[in-house]
């Protein structure tokens, strides 16, 4: 391996080193804040390496042994992944302070999951694709079941374990079927196979259907979405945040590579099924969210709808769609992180039960005014109200859809967004509803950890509003995805 390759791989190497360092720190002495700091410092260094390459390193494309390619798109993905995972780590510190047993392993699990997502961002070979997806999923099974004295979390963990194993099996089998036809395993060959898939190639067609099913599960697109609300509900809130953001982001970057970076556009048969998946996700996600009283389940359905919107950019060919994907991903990440962050802080330190029922949030404004303001802003951003980042994301996706005359999908997006305003505003209304005299709980004083998490959320809100008002820098950065 040449020095150039090692330098290009530096973010992954640093992340791996951070994981090992955290493990050693745990082995030597269990200290919650210290172990958390080790991971956070490591991830920050990795982020620094990515940022250096993007801004000063010339953004060159480096091929590493055919398994990975570190190009502009990979760096963009790695940057987003690391920023989001740092946010999740911050939430973890406040949240797990209240956990009675071993708290430090969660940083190892999140670090390993992040490494999996980083791998996916650079993957240009089926081997790295599969290992990356497993590395993203396996630690999160441990994460979902982390508080294992509760029946619910064990149930969620087992559900995630079995269903994601089935999805991975479908994905692996799909790759194997395509390999049987084309005899190559690199992503370029796979996406070429997806481009020419037709009815007289049953192997490729069956393989791509199974790959779509596996990837659709990981992105929780309808009809592969049933696990999402249950697992989101069962997991500790910071882990839910990780599942909703980093986990899907990593998979989506590799999906972009599969469907977008080929020499020719995806075959019409697969496009039709993508349109179907997208429409179903948008409508089913929004409709099912309407009746939810549990905030985590509501957000799970809303994330299904959001990834339905995002699937539009897979259908639309061209660099504009890629740019829209980057903008949408960034705005979705900062917003989701904000929403789950507020939920995590309201539930921190971890108690018997997370604050997740909508009643727990009734009148929250009168107890926690700052957190409530952040949550309100984030909810409006999820709904896509102008001047928030969510609006810019939706605008970018609609622009891409209109540019390619995908009227069905754009119509679906508009209908789904209209429905979604109802359930987001329902939460916002609950936040500000008056509480009965004397039943208000006293505001608890914020500890160091909580105020640190609060600081992160404040930054997230500022970034979100900034992107909503002045999206130009994000657009410039997102054109990274189109450089390939």
């Amino acid at each position: 391996m040449t020095p150039v390759q090692v330098w290009a791989l530096l973010p992954l190497l640093i992340a791996t080193a951070a994981i090992v360092a955290t493990m050693l720190a745990i082995a030597i002495y269990r200290h919650h804040r210290f172990c958390a700091s080790v991971t956070v410092v490591g991830m920050n260094l990795a982020l620094l390496a990515v940022a250096y390459d993007i801004f000063f390193g010339g953004n060159t494309t480096v091929v590493v042994t055919g398994l990975m390619t570190i190009d502009a798109a990979a760096r963009f993905g790695m940057g987003l992944i690391l920023v989001t995972s740092l946010g999740v780590l911050t939430l973890c510190h406040a949240y797990f302070e209240g956990y009675k047993k071993n708290r430090e392993e969660v940083y190892l699990l999140i670090g390993l999951g992040t490494l999996g997502a980083l791998t996916l961002a650079c993957a240009t070979h089926a081997a790295t694709l599969l290992v990356g997806i497993e590395l993203l999923t396996l630690p999160m099974i441990g994460g979902v079941a982390y508080a294992m004295d509760e029946r619910r979390s064990i149930e969620g963990g087992i559900k995630y374990l079995i269903l994601s194993a089935a999805a991975s099996a479908a994905l692996f089998f799909g790759v194997a079927l395509i390999y049987a036809q084309v005899g190559a395993l690199d992503i370029e060959a796979l996406s070429q196979a997806l481009a020419v898939a037709s009815l007289d190639q049953p192997l490729v067609l069956a393989g791509s259907a199974m790959m779509l099913a596996g990837l659709g599960f990981k992105l929780s697109l309808v009809p592969f979405h049933q696990w999402t609300p249950d697992v989101y509900e069962a997991a500790p809130t910071p882990i839910t945040a990780f599942l909703a953001t980093v986990s899907k982001l990593g998979v989506f970057v590799v999906v972009l590579r599969l469907f977008h970076y080929g020499a020719s556009p995806v075959s019409p048969l697969i496009l039709t099924s993508l349109v179907g998946l997208s429409m179903a996700s948008m409508l089913v996600g929004s409709l099912l969210a309407l009746r939810q009283n549990n905030l985590k389940r509501l957000l799970a359905y809303s994330s299904i709808a959001h990834f339905g919107y995002l699937t539009i950019v897979l259908v639309v060919p061209g660099d504009d769609a890629l740019r829209a994907a980057g903008v949408y991903l960034a705005t979705y990440l900062v917003t989701s992180l904000g929403v789950f962050g507020v939920m995590a802080l309201v539930s921190s330190p971890m108690g018997e039960r997370d604050a997740e029922h909508i009643d727990d949030y009734r009148g929250l404004f009168w107890r926690r005014p700052y957190l409530t303001s952040i949550l309100t802003a984030m909810m409006l951003s999820l709904a896509g109200i102008p001047l928030t980042a969510g609006f810019i994301g939706k605008f970018a996706v609609i622009a891409a859809g209109v540019g390619d005359a995908q009227w069905l999908l754009v119509g679906g997006l508009i209908v789904s967004s209209a429905i979604s305003i109802y359930y987001y505003l329902r939460v916002v209304a609950a936040l500000f509803s008056a509480v009965a005299q004397g039943s208000e709980r006293v505001t608890e004083s914020l500890g160091w950890a909580q105020s640190f998490g609060g600081f992160m959320l404040l930054v997230a809100m500022i970034v979100m509003l900034f992107l909503g008002v002045y999206p130009q820098p994000l657009y410039l950065l997102s054109s990274q995805l189109a450089l390939h």
């Binding site: 994981i19 398994l67 070979h125 790295t128 982390y146």
Partner: protein, 165 residues
């Protein structure tokens, strides 16, 4: 000839896997599971991948199955264990797997016999050396990532399997 062996082994694999699923008795199902793994190993042998076949036997059929059978047996420790085991070992339970694994054995002897000049059904023979070169050449990064995957499994299992006193 080898192609014939390939199809026989695949048929055995399919049949035994179906038997694993439909069998209501856990130990009998496990017997068929071992058989299914052995027949997959046989498929590898016929395709000209002896190393993969050997690994299949050692890792899956050997280690995991022994573990499996142990766990199932341990769950039923008690006074009635002996009679229970006797009941489990009735001929109807093991005769099927026995016959099928004898078929596999005959095939193995035929394919692996040093005197035979049979060419494998696959296009080339992939031996241990080729696999080593592939793993530590082009696939080096995948191997390293797989090691972190194992670490992830280890950490998750450690945390979830821990008994707090």
């Amino acid at each position: 000839m080898v192609e014939f062996a390939f199809y026989v082994a695949s048929t055995v694999a399919l049949f035994s896997t179906v038997m694993v699923v439909v069998n209501t008795h856990p130990v009998h199902a496990l017997l068929y599971l071992v058989l299914s793994l052995l027949s997959v190993a046989m498929v590898f042998f016929t395709l000209g991948a002896p190393f993969a076949g050997a690994l299949e036997v050692i890792v899956y059929a050997g280690a995991i199955m022994v573990l499996f059978v142990f766990v199932v047996m341990m769950l039923n420790l008690g006074r009635k264990t002996v009679e229970q085991e006797r009941a489990w070992l009735k001929a109807s339970g093991w005769i099927g797997p026995l016959v099928l694994s004898l078929i596999l054995l005959v095939q193995l002897v035929l394919v692996l016999a040093p005197m035979s000049h049979l060419t494998p059904a696959g296009t080339q023979i992939i031996d241990a050396k080729t696999i080593g070169i592939a793993l530590f050449g082009p696939y080096l990064l995948a191997v390293e990532l797989a090691s972190t995957l194992l670490l992830a499994g280890l950490v998750a299992a450690y945390h979830l399997g821990r008994h707090e006193d």
